[in-house]
């Protein structure tokens, strides 16, 4: 499986709004915990280690 880095979201604005809504009313700590759980759930959905490492690389701060 190769990592998809081209547009792949049907309704980008709706999805982005869902993400923000999930964090609404949370403290910074609660938000950080939610993000951590979310990453783990999505990582499991991907499953493949190479794809996940490609995602880590794409997310890393650019030099």
């Amino acid at each position: 499986m190769t990592l998809t880095l081209t547009p792949n979201i049907d309704a980008p604005d709706d999805l982005y709004a869902d993400l923000l809504a999930a964090h609404e009313g949370l403290t910074d700590d609660q938000s950080a915990a939610l993000n951590a759980r979310l990453i783990l759930i999505l990582a499991n959905h991907i499953g493949d280690r190479d794809t996940f490492r490609a995602a880590l690389k794409a997310a890393a701060p650019s030099a």
Partner: protein, 530 residues
């Protein structure tokens, strides 16, 4: 109360070596009579190699210390003749429970594979294991095995020479000198032998303290392993409760780095902590208390000429996963047959280099696993704690997160994929678990088990066919293929030949092989050039 480990078991007696005009030379001297030194002594002694064990004290291990012994260790103990008493005494467990905060997040069953003589694990105090090993040593001695165990003999100096190792040994009667053709240093994490030879021991120190307490109680806790992350009785830290024989329970409480170690060991303070954990209604006695910190590190090389390091003297791991004593006993399993062949002139001295290659590979695997467990149990940063807690939170409701929970990856033997003694795999459709370098998995055979039929020699195992007679090997033909043998040794093949080392690791395997090919593999497995 008299405790088994308070009684001298092999008290000092004067030996004629102490009155010899010049130092007496022994083929093999072992420093240290812990489980690793004793395993080496039994292994060499029962194969007829004269062996002398020197120990600075005369008692069993003080307190439970190592408490979890893995199947591979029990299989080695079987070969050494003390597997049955050790296993029978041990507590078997399969169920583990994981708690996070004040709630149980999930439980797991080890679900050990059927068809093995020994269980995946037993819990047993280290002193019981040592006691059974000393009993076995006494039996072997009575049968004439050349094993000498000298208590009250503290090695005070070591000098490595090209053709021998010179030792100075302190005793209650004063010092005396000894020489060894080979020295096996099993003198623990603080190895004085390592220090005297000026050898380094580097790695990662974990800044943490753990309080370990053996408590005796008449309580009806089930025989399970309970592990707590951040429990109410030890906030921000971890805790472990494990059952041992004789109504003794092992409690491990993480204390953090910034503590007053002496104060934490005060019995009243320990009792208060344990009472908080067990509740006010449980009556208990403290048998033994200790505080430890740990490191993950190893020597750069385990062989230094005629001095070989084994167990904690060579490598140290965190306790999570029970990879300390178990891997130390595997070190001796790997070393002793090689030493016997070299001493008998049946193999080149360079065979001992493969001890270094193979056991460094194993130590690195153990250090990697135990470091990862430690990083999960004691997160080192805010972010690492965030992910750790996220995994634990998710594990309560979602099965996917449970394999990520790491409270210790329990010890399994290393498959020596980098071994110079292995011949390239010639059974490509065979199971991965029995590739060259891997340890033999057990399987039911007749009224017993496969591993029962392996001795201290090279075995030529033939499954679904006859084993040819090859000099230097013991043939074992198994014409009738059971499901377990097919799954573990054949895979898609109809029959197979395996060359198995004396330590029950696989040296080579074939769908079919000529006599020459088998002989070449045997030569290679003995450290020679085929």
């Amino acid at each position: 109360m008299t405790r088994i480990f308070d009684t001298p078991l092999y008290p000092y007696t004067r030996h004629p070596d102490q009155d010899a005009a010049k130092p007496v030379r022994h083929p093999v001297i072992i420093v240290g009579a812990g489980p690793v030194g004793l395993a080496a002594a039994l292994d060499l002694g029962q194969q007829g190699v004269p062996v002398l064990v020197l120990d600075e004290n005369d008692k069993l291990s003080h307190g439970s210390r190592a408490i979890c012994f893995a199947k591979r260790t029990l299989e080695i103990a079987d070969r050494l003749g003390c597997g049955a008493p050790v296993t029978d005494r041990g507590v078997r467990w399969n169920l583990g429970k994981v708690f996070f905060g004040d709630r149980k997040v999930y439980e797991f069953n080890l679900l050990p594979e059927d068809g093995h003589r020994r269980p995946a694990f037993i819990n047993l105090q280290q002193y019981h294991l040592e006691n059974d090993m000393v009993s076995r040593l006494r039996t072997l001695q009575a049968e004439g095995a050349p094993i000498d165990l000298r208590g009250g003999n503290r090695v005070s100096d070591v000098a490595a020479n090209p053709d021998h190792v010179a030792l100075t040994v302190d005793t209650p009667d004063g010092p005396y000198a000894l020489e060894a053709e080979y020295l096996i240093a099993c003198d623990g994490a603080g190895s004085p032998t390592r220090d005297r030879l000026g050898l380094g021991f580097t790695g990662r120190v974990f800044e943490d303290n753990f309080l370990i307490a053996d408590v005796t109680m008449q309580a009806d806790f089930p025989t399970e392993r309970w592990f707590w992350f951040d429990p109410p009785f030890n906030p921000g830290q971890s805790a472990l409760l494990h059952k041992q024989p004789d109504g003794v329970w092992r409690i491990d409480l993480q204390l953090g780095w910034d503590i007053d170690r002496e104060k934490e060991k005060e019995p009243e303070r320990v009792r208060a902590r344990v009472r908080q954990m067990l509740g006010p209604d449980v009556n208990f006695d403290l048998e033994w208390v200790s505080i430890y910190t740990f490191q993950c590190r190893r020597m750069e090389r385990f062989r230094h000429g005629r001095v070989l390091f084994a167990g904690d003297a060579a490598h140290q791991v965190s306790p999570f996963g029970a990879r300390g004593a178990n891997s130390g006993i595997q070190d001796t399993d790997n070393l002793c047959w090689k030493l016997r062949l070299v001493l008998a002139g049946e193999a080149p001295d360079s065979l001992l280099d493969s001890y270094d290659t193979e056991r460094v590979e194993a130590a690195d695997e153990n250090i990697l696993n135990s470091s990862r467990s430690t990083d999960f149990i004691t997160p080192k940063s805010t972010t690492s704690r965030l992910f750790r807690d996220a995994v634990l939170d998710l594990s309560e409701h979602h099965a996917f997160a449970r394999p990520l929970v790491n409270s210790g990856r329990l010890s399994v033997p290393c498959a020596h994929d980098g071994s110079p003694l292995s011949t390239p795999d010639a059974l490509p459709t065979g199971p991965t678990r029995t590739r060259p370098g891997a340890p033999c998995p057990d399987a039911p055979l007749g009224n017993g088990y496969l591993l029962d039929d392996f001795g201290n020699t090279f075995t030529l195992l033939a499954i679904g066919r006859d084993a040819p007679g090859i000099q230097g090997t013991t043939p074992l033909s198994i014409p009738d293929i059971t499901d377990a043998l097919r799954t573990r040794y054949l895979g898609k093949a109809d029959s197979a030949l395996y060359l198995i080392r004396p330590d029950q690791h696989i040296a080579a395997r074939w769908a079919d092989a000529s006599e020459t090919e088998i002989q070449s593999a045997l030569t290679r497995a003995k450290g020679g050039q085929p």
